[in-house]
């Protein structure tokens, strides 16, 4: 048997048996972590009668098991297709608005001095951890008074407002890393403040825009509470989360429909996650305490 190679890095030295043990433990946990999702994914492609007669783990041992019918049924008849479009109609404007409004606010906070700057910054960002519950009732009353309750603009405004504290924090911190000399030389060259903002600062801040944009989009896409309260569960405007929660609560749909609907709601988050993993993790890590 070959002698064990001592690593040249600062890795702690492990015996081969220990390395095997660590790998084995990790494999077990990784399997535990992925199994629930895989199980439901397989179920979503099985025929309803197959689902109730045998477990998903048996699916590959049987013939004529799989079908796309569940997806067709939820998307076309079950109203999940409509909810998917609603989720997009809610999430995209809420994301764009928060990026624009937060960047505008963070710009002077990061680069210029003026009375009340520190106070305003602390005021904005300290609201990050506020539990949304404490705002829901008055905001809902305000929206009914304005007659916009249950409409998309109402929820766009709500999500934008709730997203701002974190967004301003992320932008302010990112902008602060841009050397002031760059801003100053642009000023000397006669650029207006808005030109500096739109032509210099924003293009340089694309990483922050990406992580914040992905975080906000995911937050809104996955949100249930705000949608329940401000859209009132009206089917014409309900997003996927509300739709699936009500399907689950009504006990009408079997697992074949529930599983397909759940995966329809997971498609976009999973694509975003797998294609922008770095920005995704950054954004989620920064925003873990939000509302």
């Amino acid at each position: 048997m070959k002698e064990t190679r001592i690593p040249l890095t600062n890795k702690p030295y492990h015996k081969p048996s220990e390395i095997f043990l660590i790998n084995a433990i990790l494999v077990v946990f990784v399997v535990i972590w992925i199994l629930p999702t895989i199980g439901l994914l397989i179920t979503s492609f099985r025929k309803p009668e197959a689902i109730v007669s045998s477990g998903w783990w048996m699916a590959f041992s049987r013939v004529n098991e799989f079908t796309l019918e569940n997806y067709r049924a939820v998307l076309l008849q079950g109203g999940v297709g409509r909810a998917f479009v609603n989720s997009l109609l809610i999430s995209i404007p809420s994301t764009i608005l928060v990026i624009i409004i937060a960047a505008l606010a963070a710009f002077p906070l990061a680069f210029f001095k003026f009375p009340g700057r520190t106070f305003l910054f602390v005021l904005f960002v300290s609201l990050q951890v506020i539990p949304l519950q404490i705002t829901l009732i008055p905001v809902m009353k305000m929206m009914s008074a304005l007659g916009i309750s249950g409409t998309f603009p109402a929820i766009w405004m709500a999500h934008t407002a709730y997203g701002l504290p974190l967004a301003i924090y992320i932008f302010r911190n990112f902008f602060a890393g841009i050397p002031y000399a760059i801003i100053e030389s642009a000023e000397v060259d006669g650029a207006t403040k808005f030109q500096i903002f739109s032509r210099l600062v924003i293009p340089m801040s694309m990483p922050a825009v990406a992580s914040l944009g992905i975080f906000q989009f995911m937050w809104v896409w996955n949100d249930l509470l705000v949608a329940l309260v401000f859209l009132g569960g009206t089917p014409e405007v309900a997003p996927l989360t509300v739709k699936i929660a009500s399907m689950k609560g009504s006990l009408e749909s079997g697992w074949h429909l529930m599983s397909a609907a759940a995966f329809v709601s997971m498609v976009i988050p999973l694509i975003l996650f797998l294609s922008f993993q770095k920005y995704f993790v950054e954004g989620l890590t920064a925003g873990a305490v939000k509302g």
Binding site: L40, V52, P131
Partner: protein, 387 residues
């Protein structure tokens, strides 16, 4: 070379005028949204939580009328007594109107009974409920059995969710440190963070299904039971446990789903922190003959304490606000045994329409987070003063 601070200072002095006002204009949209959606509503909710509406009821009015008529008429009056039988009933009616600040639009005939009069009065008064300020809603919370269960469950969540997410996160981060396939493992463990609580709720309700042919966990237990029968350790008959349908298991089943979602977050933060630890400390420990396990618990964990504190705080904040997962998986059931604060608050406000009581619950949630907010405000001020 000027420092950034220096150049800014010079610029300010030279052109000091009110042009800084335009900076406020940049912040105006954000300011308005934050004020109208976060700050003002927070204050309104706090005020609302102390408002105790005094709603009038027919029975209350009737009781009052009976009392007034008994005093003014000097006879025993009950709800079926006719007004004509009560001496000086007009005086009683006048006193009653005075007490409730209203006057009858219709003519009061003396053929009415006291009960009729109470019902007529109610049509006048039902819109007119007065408001009193008090801590009644807060007091009520501590006698309301649903709320007491919610408090208890939030505490159970607090302990188990926090301990499991933080320890699993730290454990995975450490074990994955020098593993070749770590990126794949990290991706898999992080994926649940990407999906909604609602989707996670569906996934885990499916895992917990009582039917051994559907629910993965019950199928596994069924399989173990069969293996046990082979070794004569069990009866071999297993009918499945309804994890979400039993008060004693439901909370742990929900917490497990929550842990499954959030371990990825903890792991990512700890991985970054572990990688940032200076290598020489670990090397020194190894040279001194510490085993990897000793190095981890006696050197690395103490050095990670600040990170552990931050992650733990984050998890605690999360627990306080836990809502979606309970709402989707159990709606607080069975028999309210998995209720949590946020779920109670939602149902009280938006299903039962009791905004004042719900506001008090929201204030409790808010108060739990205030210490974190104050800590943050302090550190932001320090951050700012060092710029």
């Amino acid at each position: 070379m000027f420092s950034v601070q220096g150049t800014q200072g010079v610029r300010q002095k030279r052109r000091y005028n009110y042009r800084f006002l335009r900076y406020y204009l940049w912040m105006l949209p954000a300011f308005l949204l934050v004020v109208f959606f976060l700050i003002v509503p927070t204050i309104q909710t706090i005020i609302l939580s102390f408002q105790v509406p005094q709603r009038v009821s027919v029975s209350e009015l009737r009781k009052d009328l009976i009392q007034i008529f008994s005093e003014t008429g000097g006879i025993d009056v009950d709800r079926y007594t006719l007004l004509q039988d009560i001496p000086s009933w007009q005086k009683g009616v006048a006193l009653f109107q005075e007490k409730y600040h209203f006057s009858y639009k219709e003519k009061i005939e003396d053929t009415l009974t006291v009960n009729d009069l109470a019902e007529i009065s109610y049509t006048h008064l039902k819109e007119k409920s007065s408001i009193r300020f008090g801590i009644d809603h807060y007091k009520r919370m501590f006698t309301d059995s649903d709320m007491l269960i919610a408090f208890r469950n939030n505490l159970v969540w607090l302990v188990f969710f926090t301990v499991f997410t933080v320890s699993f996160g730290l454990g995975f981060a450490k074990l994955l440190m020098n593993i070749r396939w770590a990126p794949i493992a990290k991706t898999i463990i992080f994926v649940p963070m990407a999906i909604s609580y609602v989707a996670a709720g569906v996934i885990w309700s499916f895992m917990y299904d009582k039917d051994v042919q559907i629910g993965t966990i019950n199928a596994l237990l069924n399989f173990l039971n069969h293996v046990g029968r082979y070794f004569r350790m069990s009866s071999g008959y297993y009918e499945g446990i309804a994890f979400l349908g039993r008060p004693e298991t439901v909370n742990f089943a929900l917490i497990a789903a929550g842990v499954w979602m959030w371990v990825g977050f903890c792991m990512t933060v700890f991985s970054a922190a572990l990688a940032a630890l200076p290598a020489d400390v670990r090397e020194a420990a190894m040279v001194d003959g510490a085993t990897p396990v000793q190095t981890f618990f006696l050197v690395e964990v103490p050095m990670l304490l600040p990170t552990i504190t931050v992650v733990t705080t984050t998890m605690v904040i999360n627990v306080l606000k836990v809502f979606d997962i309970v709402y989707t998986m159990t709606q607080g059931g069975p028999y309210g045994s998995s209720e949590v604060l946020a779920n109670r608050m939602y149902r009280t406000a938006f299903n039962e329409g009791n905004f004042e009581y719900a506001a008090a619950m929201a204030v409790i949630l808010f108060l739990c987070i205030v210490p974190v907010m104050i800590g943050n405000i302090k550190s932001y001020y320090i951050e700012e003063s060092q710029r």
